[in-house]
């Protein structure tokens, strides 16, 4: 597990990238836990939390990315908008809320158009891997902007269940976050725990929390997730009781407990395959001689 304190920042200026789950199947009321928290109420908690982050330090930045069903996009970037004149036009709602809501509406309309082709049963999973990648790209840009940059971290507000087909992409994103020493925090607002997010926070050194009472979401957010990276080493933050390390197989994208692993490329399979696509391709380019395909599998 990478240690965050190895990159010594001298002050508490932070860049917080929030990944909002906007899966319509999650918020449409079929799920019993989210019945206690409707989407508008959820947004008010999130807005207050974003305002509180911007209050803590003049140089703090907030970026919001929406995780939709088929796509993800940047919704709001606090460093891009000058705050002065626009706030007067909207009456009492400050610029942050109005801009964010406007962009969110446009995003949801675009996302829904992509959805018309297929209608999956049950609650489909949202595209977490896409939004994680978007977040990491933004953070890389910030790293390259010069020696003085805010400390970045990612917060996932996720409710939909994990999609096993995204396993590979999410694990890749987690390892690159670990490499750049960016912690991934997770606040799960759905009904069940998320194995991917547990692994993400365990590996990158972030915090995983499933709040038992969603009415008080803001309090959980401000108590646990608002601390900057330096202060985290002094505080008792929630530790996961047990991390679900289950993987999903590469062939059928099902979650499995026991499986077969190729000793060459470390890909995971649930059935013993005679033809091993990944390794065969490598060997056919002349790296070695293939005697008996089934002897490769251990």
């Amino acid at each position: 597990m990478a240690s965050i304190t190895s990159k010594l920042y001298s002050d508490d200026v932070s860049l917080l990238v929030v990944l909002l789950d906007t899966n319509p199947f999650l918020w449409s009321g079929e799920n019993t836990t989210t019945n206690s928290l409707s989407f508008p109420k959820f947004l008010t908690h999130v807005f207050s939390f974003l305002n509180s982050i911007l209050l803590l330090n003049q140089l703090n930045q907030v970026v919001v990315i929406a995780t939709g069903l088929n796509s993800c996009d940047y919704i709001y970037d606090s460093s891009s908008s000058p705050t002065t004149v626009e706030s007067l036009e909207n009456g009492r709602m400050p610029a942050l809320c109005s801009k964010l809501l406007q962009n969110l509406e446009e995003f949801l309309a675009r996302d829904q158009e992509l959805n018309k082709d297929e209608s999956p049963p049950g609650i489909a999973s949202s595209l977490l891997s896409g939004s994680l990648s978007l977040a990491l790209c933004y953070i890389q840009k910030v790293f390259r902007s010069g020696p003085l940059h805010p400390q970045p971290r990612i917060l996932c507000l996720q409710g939909s269940s994990d999609g096993p087909e995204q396993y590979v992409a999410i694990m890749n994103a987690i390892f690159s976050a670990q490499r750049s020493m960016v912690p991934i925090d997770a606040c799960v607002i759905g009904a069940q725990h998320s194995a991917f997010l547990q692994q993400a926070s365990y590996i990158t050194g972030g915090v995983y929390l499933k709040p038992p009472q969603l009415d008080g979401l803001f309090q959980y957010l401000s108590t646990v997730f608002s601390t900057d990276l330096q202060s985290r080493s002094f505080l008792q933050l929630p530790k996961p009781v047990g991390v679900d390390f289950r993987a999903s197989c590469f062939c059928h994208k099902k979650t499995i407990d026991m499986g077969y692993i190729c000793s060459v490329c470390l890909s995971i399979f649930c059935l013993s395959l005679v033809r091993l696509t990944l390794v065969l391709l490598q060997l056919q380019t002349g790296r070695g001689r293939l005697q008996n395909p089934s002897s490769i599998l251990d």
Partner: protein, 451 residues
């Protein structure tokens, strides 16, 4: 609870030293609450934030449960700060258990901020009236020029090209503590040198602190000044604000602030307005002890040569404090760090750490990315030269000789050791050296021994 006397080391300490009634009145203003929150250490900020919506007093023990054992000192520092600034109010109930509650005005103001977002204290003037608004670069240049002129006048009136509008008595107030009168003229004291090596925001806060402490003699209420200055930091740089929106008191100090380079005053046909500069909006950033984030300009090479990309006289004076300035080109100051120049600096009271931190904080962006930004051989050598002056340590002491017997000698050694004054003993020749402070006690003891 009796207030411990706080020596006002910096601006926030001065705010904390205000009497409780005045501090409560200050918290009526939302901007002061925000500025105070931003000035807290990071752990204290978190505590204040999470207590915002808790209406019940939280016992001390449950707050301590949030902290890991090795973070306890930081926790104590944070809590002390919160109590000093009266953000946290302690109350003790009948069971003798203390608990904390957030200051009610502070709480309600920040709750409003969280829901409605930040609201500006006053609105900028429409652009059809404000003509000839300076660009941001011009504004920065103006602020820098004003500030440097002020500093040069502060150090020595002869160097300044033009004098600011501060009265000589005001300047004397600022110079108190920084300069001392000698026969040849005013010379910088040790704190004066340290003042010069601080970064701009810290210097600005020092001057403002002196200004405010002096304001009571002139009949102005320090709380009003503090609230105006903190409010000023929330304005937008480069926007014009009407002077009519200021109160009487604020109008009287806006001219002084213009001299410092914090705002720029401009006159239109009918109205006049002020424009906050970067110095104003950076005021709240530097309230907490964080490192400055400005662009550096000094490159130090491994051969002890120093290049500073600046054309300001002030930088030249500062670099002259500890290095030998060789050439001054239109955009470059070339110097060398030599043994003589450093000995000169040490004699004036500057420490090696201050010089090294000045060089590191002002490192040019090209070298700032390298680790270390200042070459190690230079920093090591500066420290070595400093310890050169400390090679010999002198302690006043006394030598005792010709003891009558071994027993008396042993007793004398024991006595000296118990009182912590034994420096050296020689059992063979029976000689002992003790610290000067216990000389009288040793004499008494030995007199008793003789009897």
């Amino acid at each position: 609870m009796p207030q411990v006397k706080i020596i006002a080391k910096n601006f926030m300490d001065m705010v904390a030293a205000l009497p409780a009634m005045k501090l409560d009145k200050l918290y009526d203003n939302t901007f002061i609450c925000e500025a105070v929150l931003r000035s807290l250490p990071p752990l204290a900020k978190k505590y204040a934030l999470q207590m915002l919506y808790i209406d019940v007093p939280v016992p001390v023990k449950s707050m301590e449960e949030w902290v890991l054992p090795d973070g306890f000192s930081k926790h104590r520092v944070a809590i002390d700060r919160l109590i000093q600034l009266r953000v946290f109010i302690e109350n003790t109930d009948r069971k003798r258990e203390t608990s904390y509650l957030l200051h009610p005005k502070f709480k309600s103001n920040l709750q409003k901020y969280l829901v409605y977002g930040g609201v500006l204290p006053r609105e900028p003037m429409p652009s059809n009236i404000t003509v000839r608004l300076p660009t941001l670069e011009e504004l920065d240049a103006y602020a820098l020029e004003q500030w440097e002129c002020f500093l040069l006048q502060l150090i020595s009136s002869s160097h300044a090209e033009r004098l600011t509008n501060f009265s000589p008595s005001m300047m004397k107030v600022f110079q108190r503590g920084l300069l001392s009168q000698r026969e040849k003229g005013p010379r910088l004291t040790e704190s004066g040198f340290q003042f010069l090596l601080m970064d701009t925001n810290a210097q600005l806060w020092y001057i403002i602190r002196e200004y405010i402490s002096n304001s009571e003699d002139r009949g102005l209420d320090p709380a009003d000044l503090i609230s105006f200055l903190l409010e000023l930091s929330f304005h937008a740089t480069g926007e014009a604000y009407n002077i009519n929106t200021l109160t009487e008191i604020q109008r009287s100090i806006i001219k002084d602030l213009a001299d410092l380079g914090v705002v720029k005053l401009q006159q239109g046909r009918k109205e006049s307005w002020f424009i906050p500069t970067k110095l104003a909006t950076n005021l709240s950033v530097s309230l907490s002890d964080s490192s400055s984030r400005k662009q550096g300009l000094v490159v130090v090479e491994t051969n002890f040569r120093m290049y500073a990309y600046s054309s300001s006289k002030l930088h030249c004076e500062i670099l002259r404090l500890f290095s030998r300035v060789e050439y001054q080109l239109p955009n470059l100051i070339v110097g060398a760090i030599t043994k003589e120049s450093l000995y000169n600096a040490f004699e004036n009271g500057i420490t090696a750490e201050q010089i090294i931190s000045f060089l590191q904080q002002n490192a040019h962006p090209r070298v700032a990315e390298k680790i270390p930004s200042v070459p190690e051989n230079v920093t090591d050598q500066i420290r070595l030269w400093e310890t050169d002056l400390n090679r010999v340590e002198m302690i006043p002491s006394h030598l005792y000789d010709e003891f009558p017997s071994k027993g008396v000698f042993e007793a004398a050694c024991e006595f000296a050791r118990e009182n912590g004054g034994l420096l050296w003993e020689d059992p063979k020749k029976m000689r002992i050296v003790v610290k000067g402070e216990i000389h009288m006690q040793m004499r008494e003891f030995l007199r008793h021994q003789k009897q």
